[in-house]
Structures are given as structure tokens and as C-alpha cells.
């Protein structure tokens, strides 16, 4: 049974990866918006922003930009899954003797591959803009691990959106609030400069501990307890989104 599940997931992942290879523009557009934001913030606003961290602003900014990259990238997963639901592909697969979760996992694994590719592009552009890190291999692996967890968590939210959306716009519109969230966090400016209630929200929403942890890892600084808050948020969002997606899927295709 589980070998079937792996094989079916592999076949279906091959299918959706082929979709991406036939429209590579989706990876480029995923990377373009965060890159434009990075250019804007570093070369237009950056001079006036005092982070108090000592390093260059692009170093300060990059973790938040990477989260925005993923937040906009998962919209394509919602979009593609919506088309599969709408076009009857999900029903066709649901009436075939294949492992039940493989349909959703194929979309999730494809999202992971596409978003990691977009992240690589954004990090490449950041390097051209002066981003430097002396982080050890272990620290880079930790950064990669957190980004993978973040992508999985947001992708399962996108699966919920793709399964429940009534229109294409509804499916891909799910990423707007996710893209907006880093703006009210420590991603662009330190939270200490914000007025009371805004600062409180910024400090207690998931993006801030994740950004702070990534920043500390890349700057070779101690991550403190923030990493546990970050991981708790990620695990929590992932568990809730996964459970919701699985329940909705079961209700939809038996």
C-alpha cells in the first residue's frame, strides 16, 4: 500500500512538475515581485531606515523577502489545484484505484520544488546587491529547513484555498494577506519603532520570530529562544492546514 502511495505520488508529481517546466514563467513571476521589492527597499527606502543591526540593509531585509517569495509562490499551487478540481481531474483520479493522499501530495511537492527554485533566484539577486553571509553549512541547512517548513505550511494553506475556491481569482487571491503579513513584522524595520498596538501585533505574529531566526542564522548570531517560537508557529500552521485540507478533500471526493 505505501509503496503504491509513493509510486502514485511520484507519477503525479512528475505530471505537475511538467506543468511548471512548460510554463517556467510562473517561477520567474514568483521571483520578480520580491526582487522588485528588494530593489525598492534597498535602493529607495533603505538609506533612511535605521535597523541598528550594524550590517548592510540587504542582509537585514533578505529573510523577509524570502518569506514574501514563498507567500506569492504558493498562489500557483492554489491556482493549479483549483483548475484540477474545476476540470474534473480530481474526480477522475478520485474514481481510480490510486492512493488517496497522492493527488494532494503531488501538488505540495511540486510547490516545494518551484518555491525553492524561486528562492534560489532571489538569493542570487541579493548576492549581486551585496548580500553576504559567513554562515556555516549547519546554519545554512537550518535556514533551508525553516524555509522548507514555511513553504510546506503555506502550501497546505494554498491547498485549502484551491479545494474550496469558487473562482480562479479566489484561489490565487489567497496569497495577498500572506504577502502583506511580513510588512507588519520585523522583516523591514525593527518593531521597536512601531506604535504600541502595532508593535504588539508585529511581535506576536508568526513572521517576526521566523524572520529573526533566519536573520540570526545568516549573521552567525545566537538564535536564542526565538527559534522555538518560530518552529512552534510553523508546526502549528502546518498541522492545522494539513488537517483542514485532508478533511475538505475527503468530503469532496469520498
Amino acid at each position: 500500500m505505501s509503496t503504491h502511495a509513493l509510486r502514485d505520488t511520484g507519477v503525479l508529481t512528475g505530471r505537475s512538475l511538467r506543468h511548471i517546466l512548460r510554463s517556467p514563467d510562473t517561477i520567474i513571476t514568483t521571483a520578480v515581485t520580491p526582487v522588485a521589492m528588494m530593489l525598492l527597499f534597498v535602493y529607495v527606502f533603505g538609506g533612511a531606515i535605521i535597523t541598528g543591526s550594524g550590517g548592510s540593509y540587504v542582509n537585514y531585509l533578505l529573510p523577509g523577502i524570502l518569506l514574501i517569495t514563498v507567500a506569492s509562490g504558493v498562489a500557483y499551487t492554489a491556482y493549479r489545484l483549483f483548475l484540477d478540481v474545476k476540470g474534473g481531474i480530481v474526480e477522475r483520479l478520485g474514481s481510480m484505484p490510486i492512493a488517496r493522499p497522492s493527488i494532494l501530495w503531488a501538488h505540495v511537492l511540486t510547490s516545494l520544488a518551484a518555491n525553492l527554485a524561486a528562492i534560489a533566484i532571489v538569493i542570487g539577486v541579493a548576492a549581486l546587491m551585496g548580500f553576504r553571509s559567513g554562515a556555516s553549512l549547519a546554519a545554512w541547512l537550518a535556514v533551508a529547513g525553516i524555509l522548507v517548513l514555511f513553504t510546506l505550511a503555506l502550501t497546505w494553506l494554498a491547498v485549502v484555498a484551491g479545494l474550496t475556491a469558487k473562482t480562479v481569482d479566489g484561489a490565487s487571491g489567497m496569497s495577498y494577506p500572506l504577502i502583506f503579513l511580513p510588512f507588519i513584522s520585523s522583516a523591514f524595520v525593527p518593531t521597536a519603532t512601531m506604535p504600541g498596538p502595532v508593535a504588539w501585533f508585529a511581535e506576536n505574529q508568526p513572521v517576526t520570530p521566523i524572520v529573526d531566526t533566519l536573520r540570526a542564522l545568516l549573521a552567525q548570531e545566537p538564535v536564542g529562544t526565538g527559534i522555538w517560537t518560530a518552529l512552534a508557529w510553523l508546526a502549528g500552521i502546518l498541522a492545522v492546514a494539513y488537517a483542514a485540507a485532508a478533511a475538505i478533500y475527503r468530503r469532496k471526493v469520498g
Partner: protein, 271 residues
């Protein structure tokens, strides 16, 4: 196995009920479909045909009643049911980004067949899609998409085929093409349950016709039996005029039109 099949209905539906919130879509549906026959479920839009097909293909659970397909209960043994059925839904479920061949190979792989490429090649030939095999399905005409859709459903030789409104939205040539395919399948022993809102489709294809109206089967029989429900025929003399369909088919030819440019297919007459 063969005697078993001959004795038991391929599909048995007993007292199926299904509601969506306040809407009582199916209110106790019963019928049997014998192996190797074509059974048409006739009903107007919203009669509950699609809901019933979804229940039979394990996509929906009924509120009450049981349905068995090839002796397996759709509720308690959905995995066994899925192994012996194929569903061609109301909307052609082909992957537009993949080519015709890739669509077929995908399904063959998911059905764990040993030689997916050979299976795909044979079906492309059989459904007149060999020339278009390497084009994306998104570029196909409506008739070609439906043929690919049905070809995908035949992979793995399912013993029962569900076709939900297989010819809705097709032009007359493509519709005749699909009818021919369905007759062939039944001739080879596949049990076909199709839903339709077209009376002539049921009349042309089906061994038995059931009329689903307001959630129940109000009549179920052969065409001859259904005709006997009305008073005996009286003889009248009527001038035989060609129907518009006869004229249209005579003008454009009734063969499959694979060319999106609309070029005629000379010398192809399947009737």
C-alpha cells in the same frame, strides 16, 4: 467467473437516497444493470443523474441505500469498486498542458500497467488520435478531447464504464463518433451506464432506459416496453422530409473532423 457475471447484475442500486442540505436530490432509487449491456439514465437537468454517478463511482456517499458494482459495495469496499470501474465525467477531464500521449501514459502508470507506452500507442490508433499524439490536449477540438477522455477511461479494461452526459456540447459528427465507440465497448462485454438528457441518445444506444424524475426512477424498461406505455400506434401518412441533421451531415460528412481548421475528411463515412 463468467457464470458469476452472467448471473449477477454488474450494477445493483437499492434504495439510494441523497440530500444536499434541504435539497432532496435522490429519494429512493432502485435498478439493476446486467453485465455487457448499455443502460441509459434519462433525465432533465437537475434530476440527480450526476449525483447518482458520483455515488456509483465512490466519489459521494449516499445518505441511505446501497449500491454494488461488480459485487462490491461502494460504501464499504470503495477500493475494490475503483479497481473495476472507470468514470468519464460531465466535463472532459484531460490535462490540457500534457500531450494526448502523455495523458494516456499518465493514466496507464497510475493503473500500474506494465507497458504504459504500448497501451497509449494502441489507444491513440484506436481513437484516431495518432497524428495529434504529440500535440497538447489543450489544442484539440471538442470531439478529439472527448475521444481522448474516453480513451483514458478505457485504460486497464474496466468492466464497468460510467459516462456522464458523454455527448453534451459535441457537434453531430463527434457525437456519432462517441456513439460508435460506446456500441463497440458494449459489444466487447463492457457494461456501460450512461446518463443523458437527449432522448434520441437513449433511443439509439441503450438496451434499457430508466427515467429519473424528481429523485426516483419513474420508468425502467427496454425501448419497446417504454413505447407500449402509450396507446397503440395509428397509421398516418406523413411526407418524409429530411431532418436538418440529415442535411447537415450530408453536406459536411459524418466522419471525425480532427482538423481544427475545419477541413473536411474526405472519403470517411462511418455510418
Amino acid at each position: 467467473m463468467t457464470t458469476d457475471q452472467a448471473l449477477h447484475p454488474a450494477i445493483r442500486v437499492q434504495g439510494i437516497e441523497k440530500s444536499f442540505k434541504d435539497l432532496h436530490v435522490l429519494r429512493g432509487v432502485d435498478f439493476d444493470v446486467m453485465p455487457g449491456s448499455i443502460f441509459a439514465l434519462l433525465g432533465s437537468n437537475g434530476a440527480g443523474k450526476t449525483t447518482l454517478v458520483k455515488i456509483l463511482s465512490t466519489l459521494l456517499k449516499p445518505d441511505a441505500g446501497t449500491a454494488t458494482v461488480n459485487g462490491h459495495d461502494t460504501g464499504t469496499e470503495p477500493a475494490r469498486v475503483r479497481e473495476s470501474i472507470s468514470l468519464t465525467g460531465q466535463f472532459t477531464a484531460v490535462d490540457d498542458v500534457l500531450t494526448g500521449r502523455e495523458n494516456l501514459v499518465l493514466v496507464a502508470r497510475l493503473r500500474h500497467l506494465p507497458r504504459p507506452d504500448a497501451v497509449a500507442g494502441a489507444l491513440l490508433e484506436r481513437f484516431d488520435l495518432a497524428e495529434a499524439a504529440h500535440r497538447r490536449a489543450g489544442t484539440y477540438s471538442g470531439g478529439m478531447r472527448r475521444r481522448l477522455d474516453i480513451a483514458m477511461s478505457l485504460i486497464g479494461n474496466p468492466r464497468v464504464l460510467f459516462l456522464d452526459e458523454p455527448t453534451t456540447g459535441l457537434d453531430p459528427q463527434a457525437r456519432n463518433e462517441v456513439w460508435r465507440t460506446i456500441r463497440q465497448l458494449a459489444g466487447q462485454g463492457t457494461t456501460v451506464l450512461l446518463t443523458t438528457q437527449y432522448l434520441d441518445e437513449a433511443e439509439q444506444l441503450a438496451d434499457r432506459i430508466a427515467i429519473l424524475h424528481q429523485g426516483i426512477i419513474i420508468q425502467n424498461g427496454t425501448l419497446a416496453e417504454l413505447k407500449q406505455l402509450l396507446p397503440a400506434a395509428t397509421v398516418e401518412y406523413v411526407e418524409k422530409q429530411p431532418s436538418l441533421e440529415d442535411v447537415f451531415l450530408a453536406l459536411v460528412g459524418s466522419g471525425p473532423d480532427d482538423r481544427p481548421s475545419g477541413a473536411p475528411a474526405p472519403g470517411k463515412d462511418h455510418r
